[in-house]
C-alpha cells in the first residue's frame, strides 16, 4: 500500500495536468452539472474531456471496486482526492442517482451479472438513472405502493404509476419498487426492478411546482415487459433494498442544510438594507431574527461535524441522519424566508432580468419541499423518537 503523502502528490499533479481550467470554475446552475446518460449533450469539449479522463481512472466513483469501473481507492485516499480537487477548485465530473443511490445498493444486493452490466456504465456516465418510488397514494407511507408487477416466469409485466420521479424524462433506466405479492403484508410483497425507460409502455409527464419548472415527473407504466434477470435481490425482498437506499438519499438531502448562502445573511442584509448610526441593521426586528438564524446555522454545522467526528471514533449515533435532515430542512426554509424579507419587494419580481427570472422567489418556494421530500419532517421526528429515544410504538 503506497504512502498516502505520495498519493497526495501524485493526485495533485495529475489533477493539475488533466483538469481543464473551465472545469475549475464553480458550477453556476443546474445546466452546468454533468449528469451523463444517452440523452446528455455536453456543454463544452472541456466538460466531456473531464468526464472521460476521470472515468478512465475510475475517479467518478473513487471507492468502488476496480472491476466495476471504480477507482478502488481506500477511504483515506478518496478523502485525499476530494481535498486535492477542492484545493484546485475542480468540479465533480459526474453527478447521478446511479452513483449516489443505485450503485451502493447494487454493490450490496446485486448479482455479479448485474454489477458487471450496470456499474461500469454508471461510472462512465453512459447510463443515467431515475428513481421510481413514490406514488400518488404512497408518499410517506411508501410501503403502501400499488404499482403491480405480474410474474410471468421469464419476465414481469408492470402496470401502474410513479410520481416525483426526478429527471424521468431525461433518464435512460429506472430502478423501481413494484408490488409482486398482493396477498402479503404490505412491506413483504415488494420487489426491486431495473428497466430501460425506452421500453414500450413507459411514458413521462413533467410536474410544474409552485416555484415553476422542476425536474420532477409523473411516470406511467402500461404493460411494460421487464426480463426476470433485472430483478435485484430476492423476489418480494425489495423493501430492505429500498430502505438501504433511502438512508443514502437522506444523507444527500441533509447536506442542503449546511450549504450556506454565499455571504453570511446578517452582513448581506446590512449591505442590502443599510445600517443606523451605531452600525446596526436598520430593521431591528429582522436583525433579531437574523442573529437567531445565524446562531442556529452555526450550531447545526457543528452538530454535523461532531457526529462525523464521533463516527470516526466508532461512536456514531444511529439514525442521526434524521436529526440532521429534520433540522437542515427547517433551517433552509428559514434561510429563504429571511432572504425574501431582506429583499423586500425587489425579491418579489418573478420574470425580470434584474431578478434573474425571480431566482430568489422561486428558490424560496422550492425550499418548502425540503421538509417534505426525502421523508417529511414529521416522519424524521417519528424516527428520532423511536430509534434514538426508544419511545414505544410501531
Amino acid at each position: 500500500m503506497e504512502d498516502l503523502e505520495t498519493f497526495r502528490q501524485q493526485t495533485h499533479a495529475w489533477l493539475q495536468d488533466n483538469c481543464p481550467p473551465e472545469m475549475r470554475q464553480p458550477v453556476q446552475d443546474d445546466e452546468d452539472i454533468c449528469w451523463g446518460g444517452r440523452k446528455f449533450r455536453f456543454r463544452s469539449e472541456a466538460q466531456r474531456q473531464w468526464l472521460e479522463r476521470m472515468a478512465e481512472r475510475g475517479w467518478t466513483v473513487p471507492e468502488w471496486p476496480r472491476e466495476y469501473g471504480g477507482g478502488g481507492l481506500s477511504r483515506e485516499q478518496a478523502k485525499i482526492l476530494r481535498e486535492e480537487m477542492q484545493r484546485l477548485g475542480c468540479r465533480v465530473p459526474l453527478q447521478s442517482f446511479g452513483i449516489s443511490m443505485l450503485g451502493p445498493a447494487l454493490l450490496k444486493y446485486g448479482s455479479e451479472a448485474q454489477k458487471r452490466e450496470h456499474l461500469p456504465k454508471i461510472a462512465r456516465g453512459e447510463i443515467r438513472w431515475c428513481q421510481g418510488y413514490s406514488e400518488p397514494n404512497a408518499g410517506s407511507d411508501l410501503a403502501a405502493l400499488q404499482t403491480r408487477a405480474e410474474d410471468r416466469g421469464g419476465h414481469f409485466v408492470v402496470n401502474g404509476q410513479k410520481i416525483w420521479t426526478s429527471y424521468a424524462n431525461r433518464a435512460d433506466w429506472i430502478f423501481c419498487l413494484v408490488r409482486t405479492d398482493f396477498s402479503a403484508q404490505k412491506h413483504t410483497g415488494i420487489s426491486f426492478l431495473l428497466f430501460d425507460m425506452e421500453t414500450p409502455g413507459v411514458t413521462t409527464r413533467p410536474i410544474v411546482l409552485i416555484s415553476g419548472k422542476s425536474p420532477f415527473c409523473e411516470t406511467f407504466f402500461d404493460d411494460v415487459v421487464v426480463p426476470r434477470d433485472q430483478l435485484v435481490g430476492e423476489l418480494n425482498g425489495g423493501w430492505e433494498i429500498a430502505k438501504y437506499l433511502l438512508t443514502h438519499e437522506r444523507d444527500m438531502i441533509s447536506a442542503i442544510g449546511s450549504r450556506g448562502f454565499r455571504q453570511p445573511l446578517g452582513r448581506h442584509a446590512a449591505k442590502a438594507i443599510g445600517t443606523d448610526a451605531a452600525g446596526r441593521l436598520d430593521e431591528p426586528m429582522l436583525r433579531a431574527q437574523l442573529a437567531r438564524f445565524e446562531i442556529d446555522e452555526a450550531a447545526f454545522g457543528f452538530a454535523g461535524e461532531r457526529v462525523r467526528d464521533l463516527a470516526k471514533q466508532g461512536e456514531g449515533i444511529a439514525a442521526f441522519s434524521s436529526v440532521l435532515k429534520y433540522y437542515g430542512a427547517e433551517l433552509n426554509k428559514r434561510r429563504y424566508e429571511l432572504l425574501m424579507s431582506i429583499g423586500g419587494s425587489d425579491a418579489l419580481e418573478w420574470e425580470s432580468e434584474r431578478s434573474h427570472q425571480g431566482a430568489t422567489a422561486r428558490a424560496w418556494l422550492r425550499t418548502k419541499a425540503n421538509s417534505i421530500e426525502g421523508g417529511t419532517s414529521e416522519v424524521q421526528l417519528n424516527i428520532v423518537a423511536k430509534r434514538i429515544l426508544g419511545l414505544p410504538g410501531a
Binding site: P264, G266, R267, A269, A270, T275, A278, G279, R280, L281, R287, A288, L290, A291, R292, E294, I295, D296, A298, A299, F300, F302, A303, E305, R306, V307, D309, L310, K312, Q313, E315, F320, V323, Y326, Y327, E378, Q380, L381, N382, V384, A385, K386, I388, L389, G390, L391, P392, G393
Partner: protein, 396 residues
C-alpha cells in the same frame, strides 16, 4: 480538532458527576433551602472540590492548580448543572481564577491563586448595576484618593458576594466616549465598543469599611447579594490589570464565564430531558404508556435535536477559547450562551409540562431545574443580550 471530549475530559466529567450525585443530591439543595442556610452551599463540599483539584481547575500548576482549560471547567460545570449542586465554582474557580491568572500582578497571583486552588479563598464579581446585564454601563466610580482609590456605587446580582473573601469590582475611573451619559436609564445607548474605555477592576476585601452587603435569596434557592460601596478606600495595588484598561480584561473573563455557564445550562437541560423521557416511558394514561402519543414523541424528538445542536456549539466555543490566546470578544461564546439559555428554557418547560400536575409540586424535583435554568439564563447575559452581541460582532 474533533468536537468530542477526549478520554481525560470524559473521565473528568464522569468522576465529577459521580462525586456530585453522591455528595450533593437534590435533597441536599432542598434541605439547605428549607433550613434558610445563610451560606447557600456546603463548605465541606467545596473543600472536597479543592482536594480533588477542581477548585483549581483553571489555576496554573505553578500556583498549585490543575492547569487545565475551559473545556475541563465546562465538564465540571455540566455535572453541577445535572445535579444542581450549589457551589462557588463559577464565581471563584472560573471568573476569579481567570482574571487573576491572566491579568494579576505577581503579588496578586502569589497571594490569591494558591488559596483559591486549595479552597481557602473565595471571590465574587461585582459588575451588574441594574436588572439586565450591561457589563460596560457602569455608574460605580473609583476616584483617585489618598494614594489609592475611593469606590462609590451600587451593584446587584453579585453571586457569592456574602461569602467572598475578595470582591472583584468593576468601576469607572475614566470617561467613556466624550459626551456620553453614564446614566443607566439612557436606554438608547447600547453597550458599544467605546464603552469598554475608562473601566478599572479593583480587588476589594469584603470586610473593607463602607462595603454594605444585603444577602438576597433567589427563586432557585441560591444566594446573591446587592452591595453598596460608600467611600470604600482601597490602595493603589488593589487595581487588577491596568487603570482604565479593565474593559478588555472583563470581556475575556466574562467570555470564559459565559462559556462555562453554558455547560451548566446544558447539564440542566440534559437532566431535565432524561427525567422527562423516563417519565414518558413509564406513565400510563388512557390505557397506554403516554410516550406512545405522537405529539409527545415529536416534542421529545425536537428537544433532542436542540440539545445536540447546543451540545456541539458549547463544546466548540470552549475549545476555541482554549485554542487561542486572549484576544478580544469571541462571537461563538455569545452563540453558545444564547442557545444554551434557550435550549435549557425549552427543556425545563417541557419537563414541567410533560410531567403534568405532579411536575408543578414542590415535592417533585423537576421544578428545581426550571428555577435554576432561569438564573443561569440571566447571569452574564441572557439569550437576547447574546443574540444582539453576536450580530454586533458579526457586523450588523
Amino acid at each position: 480538532m474533533a468536537i468530542v471530549l477526549n478520554d481525560t475530559q470524559d473521565m473528568l466529567r464522569d468522576s465529577a458527576l459521580t462525586f456530585l450525585r453522591e455528595n450533593a443530591p437534590i435533597s441536599a439543595l432542598r434541605a439547605m433551602r428549607d433550613s434558610g442556610d445563610p451560606v447557600g452551599f456546603s463548605r465541606e463540599l467545596w473543600q472536597r472540590f479543592a482536594d480533588l483539584g477542581l477548585a483549581g481547575v483553571l489555576v496554573p500548576e505553578a500556583y498549585g492548580g490543575s492547569g487545565l482549560g475551559v473545556v475541563e471547567a465546562g465538564v465540571i460545570m455540566e455535572a453541577i448543572g445535572r445535579t444542581l449542586a450549589p457551589s462557588p465554582f463559577l464565581s471563584t474557580a472560573v471568573i476569579g481564577a481567570s482574571l487573576l491568572t491572566h491579568y494579576g500582578s505577581d503579588a496578586q497571583r502569589d497571594a490569591l491563586l494558591p488559596a483559591i486552588a486549595s479552597g481557602r479563598h473565595l471571590t465574587a464579581l461585582a459588575l451588574d448595576e441594574a436588572g439586565k446585564h450591561r457589563p460596560f454601563r457602569l455608574a460605580t466610580r473609583a476616584t483617585p484618593h489618598a494614594g489609592g482609590y475611593r469606590i462609590d456605587g451600587t451593584k446587584q446580582l453579585v453571586v457569592d458576594g456574602h461569602v467572598a473573601d475578595t470582591l472583584i469590582v468593576a468601576a469607572r475611573t475614566g470617561d467613556a466616549r466624550a459626551g456620553q451619559a453614564t446614566n443607566a436609564a439612557n436606554a438608547v445607548n447600547a453597550a458599544g465598543a467605546d464603552d469598554t474605555q475608562g473601566i478599572t477592576l479593583l480587588l476589594v476585601p469584603r470586610a473593607t469599611p463602607g462595603v454594605r452587603i444585603e444577602r438576597v435569596v433567589l427563586a432557585d434557592a441560591t444566594q446573591a447579594t446587592r452591595i453598596v460601596f460608600e467611600g470604600v478606600q482601597v490602595p493603589a495595588d488593589a487595581v487588577l490589570g491596568a487603570v482604565d484598561g479593565g474593559g478588555a480584561l472583563l470581556e475575556r473573563a466574562l467570555d470564559i464565564g459565559r462559556a462555562v455557564l453554558s455547560s451548566e445550562l446544558l447539564g440542566i437541560a440534559d437532566e431535565a430531558f432524561a427525567r422527562t423521557l423516563a417519565y414518558l416511558k413509564e406513565r400510563r394514561q388512557f390505557g397506554k404508556i403516554i410516550g406512545e402519543f405522537q405529539a409527545l414523541q415529536h416534542r421529545a424528538a425536537h428537544l433532542f435535536t436542540e440539545l445536540e445542536l447546543t451540545r456541539a456549539i458549547v463544546l466548540r466555543c470552549q475549545q476555541r477559547l482554549d485554542e487561542s490566546a486572549p484576544d478580544g470578544p469571541e462571537p461563538l461564546v455569545s452563540a453558545a450562551k444564547a442557545r444554551a439559555g434557550e435550549t435549557a428554557t425549552l427543556a425545563v418547560q417541557e419537563g414541567v409540562q410533560m410531567h403534568g400536575g405532579i411536575g408543578m409540586t414542590d415535592e417533585f424535583e423537576i421544578g428545581f431545574f426550571m428555577k435554576r435554568a432561569r438564573t443561569a439564563q440571566e447571569w452574564l447575559g441572557d439569550a437576547n443580550f447574546h443574540a444582539d452581541r453576536w450580530a454586533r460582532l458579526r457586523g450588523y
